[in-house]
Subunit: 206 residues, 2 copies
């Protein structure tokens, strides 16, 4: 009887075109669950089934790997965000609500063990390579810009009651949302996400 | 010339009544800066000037140490919070504002490198000893209860405009506040704390 070939023991690791993708994918899991400092490169290699010797074939260092993970997460999340915020079947605030729902379902799928990679890294800022800070700040700025546009549309369509500055409100949303994701991890349920979103919408809606 | 005695090299470590306190103090620094997983017991012993051999004289394990650090932080923070929230020279919302100011000044003093221990640990939930979760949730519940009382007073005195449920609003405050602390660490300035607090107060004030 031939045993099934062990996943992740490719015969020719250095030519495995898929290995880099697997490292990125597993790296994202480790970083969203544990953060950067606690994520061991060896554990990630194991999880991805990539032989230890070949890590430096794909990345210059753990910092380089981390940096590419941030890029990959930013690209993934931008798509996720746009899917909701560009949904023309919904009104502007409905789009932001759709994002909240999508994110809550995503967290539930992983039993609330995975948070936001950008939030996780923000928490352990003091331990990160210097250039991570500007990268992370730029990502938040991009998310804020997307939500600002959505809130401006909501304001123009009369969905927002008070005279709120859309840029401040967008910043407020992301500040609080990261707190809600953190808390959902702690509480292991979506209630913090819903509490934050419900009060937020209740406060701004006309 | 007699060299000054090196701080943290007490001659009789096992009888050093202060060593446990120093370990707690340095442990709190490590946990608020780095979180639990990335905090090495050896580094904390070094920082506290306590010989490695004596760690188990004071604590059963890293988990026991962590658990006692959470208790110490909870006690420290409860006092900090009460100092502002029980300040009878201020009106109810003024007290909550005083807490925000106090916390922002505290973060500034450490150049925004230290966050909230409870928030940090929430972020790395998946890596923590099981009993940390309930401990951390109980701390949030206690903080929420304190802020709820403050908001109820504000409502009774007509400071809050809309019909807001004080308990939901208190929960909302802490969810968002932890996000603001995280973001202040990333941005290395108090602006996220101010943005969150200003919008929060603006939204609820009459």
């Amino acid at each position: 009887m031939k045993l099934p070939r062990k996943r992740g023991r490719p015969k020719r690791p250095l030519e495995d075109a898929d290995a880099r993708n697997r490292l990125i994918r597993e790296g994202l899991v480790f970083l969203t669950e544990r953060g950067y400092s606690a994520a061991g490169v060896n554990d990630i290699l194991d999880a991805a089934g990539v032989p230890k010797g070949s890590f430096y074939h794909y990345f210059k260092s753990k910092a380089d790997f981390g940096s590419q993970l941030i890029d990959a997460y930013a690209a993934y999340f931008a798509k996720k965000l746009d899917r909701s915020l560009s949904d023309e079947s919904l009104d502007p605030l409905g789009r932001l609500r759709a994002f909240v729902e999508d994110a809550a379902e995503g967290m539930a799928r992983h039993d609330f063990t995975r948070g936001c990679l950008v939030g996780n890294l923000g928490q352990e800022m003091g331990l990160l390579p210097d250039d991570f800070r500007e990268k992370l700040r730029a990502i938040f700025a991009a998310w804020e810009a997307r939500v600002r546009v959505c809130l401006e549309m909501a304001r123009d369509q009369g969905q927002i009651s008070r005279i709120q500055k859309a840029d401040t409100l967008a910043r407020f949303f992301w500040i609080g949302w990261e707190g809600a994701v953190l808390r959902a991890k702690l509480d292991r349920c979506r209630d913090p996400l819903d509490t934050f979103a419900n009060v937020f919408f209740e406060m701004i809606e006309s």
